[in-house]
Amino acid sequence: MSTNEIKNLEEIFEAKIARDEKIEPKDWMPEKYRKTHIRQISQHAHSEIVGMLPEGNWITRAPSLRRKVALLAKVQDEAGHGLYLYSACETLGISREELYEQLHSGKAKYSSIFNYPTLTWADIGAIGWLVDGAAIINQVPLCNTSFGPYARAMVRVCKEESFHQRQGYEIMMTLCNGTQEQKDMAQDALNRWWWPSLMMFGPTDEESTHTAQSMKWKLKRKTNDELRQQFIDQTVPQADILGLKIPDDNLKYNNDTGHYDFGEIDWSEFWQVVKGHGKCNKERLNARKNAWENGKWVREAAMAYADKQHQRKTKQTG
């Protein structure tokens, strides 16, 4: 194809997205669109399955049977969401195995929030409340994103995720209505998870490299800073109901803007964790690698069995 032809195709393509038409896997798409989507969808998928680990850490220690089944179901949902997203990504011509390889080699990223340790039961509450809360804000706009398979996966994810945040908030609520020790536990969890949750929206708009392009392709509808502000505005009143204090002395409602002003985010910490030097980066990645490597013989066995069955059948009928 000549450069002119490609340019023409690109114009038609961009116009289609601008008209809110969806792009489907077999449609022509610019190489950059494909690559960006593989990167973002797989990063999203990796985040789901790495995200199973910090919470999975507490399933066996959940303090009641009701909490245990709820947490188990939640972590299972995350596996499901990872699966939907990997499937969406695979429609772009890359296999799940290749995507895993990128994760395991450190080439692909996942949400840094999961590199923080879950130290007490209250962390499970805080994750559901804050981390899932932030995730929902990031994800809801994606239900309308331009790439069909991604949008469809997100519709399913958002529908299923509606209980996750409530699950977390209910845990926090119970702790805050409990003994002093439980309240302290809840406050401590909020202290540790607040700032990392704010970092989940990514670098500030000035620093963010992908925003403009992502907006055009409807991978993003609002900027990182807008989403972060939305999260803060909706979470502060929720903390008030719990009777917990957000660990930010500069947090104050601004009557002029109608939003909360907040303190400086420690971006050096953000970049440290992104670059692989968070508390749990190694553990998380190793857990995923081990699961994959230890499962190799199982996956091979099932394929060998399927081949044998197939041969047996062909012999019978042949």
Binding site: P63, R66, K68, A291
Partner: protein, 251 residues
């Protein structure tokens, strides 16, 4: 039959579901594929759901106000009545599947009988659970075949798991003296009535999976009398961690 006898008997069923559910929940996020993770978690959720039904019934039977969670988390090791089979560790996927299959087939036959119990609460739980367990035994059975008749590596691992776990099968059919009272009253059921059927069924499937049925006549038991393997203490230490560290709190 006293109420105490009945409670004792129910523990003999419910604790299996709890401990196996607990073992399976250790795996969430660590399985060979996302698909198997999701499947095994479903089984864990079924088992924990059943556990809750039994414990809620026990909680209704007791007069001291014990809740399902008190029953689940506050007993001492010797008071748990699960069989040794379900407390065996997740050594590898072959152990996980074989342990599951050995238990599922028993569990299904047990529930079939329990549906005929005089105790309407138990029949109600059995009616609901049997559909879940029907699926469990299909799932685990399918996997035993795939692992046994897969590659030579998977075959050897499966044979090893079968050899090691076989010694715990006989205990499934053990009844304590108290259990016998409940069985005689028509509330409990006697698993010996389907013991031959059980061994026939698992042997047939193992042979189908090209796995040799162990000939060993030496079996281990004790769990049903509260004498567990060394694994049990660790399972409880983890499971009861919150309840023991922060007594008398609501979560």
């Amino acid at each position: 039959m006293t109420k105490q006898n009945l409670i004792h008997y129910i523990y003999g069923i419910a604790d299996n579901a709890l401990i196996l559910g607990q073992r399976l929940s250790e795996l969430c996020g660590h399985g060979p594929t996302l698909e198997t993770d999701i499947a095994l978690t479903n089984i864990a959720l079924d088992l924990l759901g059943q556990t809750r039904s039994y414990y809620q019934y026990i909680s209704n039977l007791t007069t001291d106000g014990s809740t399902e969670d008190d029953v689940a988390f506050l007993r001492k090791e010797r008071q748990y009545r699960n069989v040794l089979l379900v407390e065996q560790p997740n050594t590898d996927f072959a152990y996980i599947i074989v342990r599951q299959y050995f238990y599922d087939v028993f569990h299904y036959m047990l529930l079939q009988e329990l549906q005929l119990s005089k105790d309407v609460n138990l029949t109600a739980i059995a009616d609901k659970s049997i559909k879940e367990v029907g699926y469990h035994q299909q799932f685990s059975g399918d996997w035993v075949k795939r692992l046994g008749d897969g590659t030579s590596e998977s075959h050897d691992k499966t044979q090893q798991a079968v050899n090691d776990l076989w010694v715990f099968t006989e205990e499934l059919f053990h009844l304590s003296n108290e259990d016998k009272i409940v069985v005689d009253s028509g509330h409990g059921i006697n698993p010996k009535s389907f013991k031959d059927q059980y061994f026939n069924k698992i042997s047939t499937l193992l042979e189908d999976a090209t796995i040799k049925v162990p000939e060993s006549k030496y079996f281990q038991k004790g769990g049903k009398d509260g004498i567990h393997s060394e694994h049990m203490g660790y399972i409880l230490a983890e499971m009861q961690y919150m309840q023991r560290t922060y007594p008398d709190m609501k979560w």
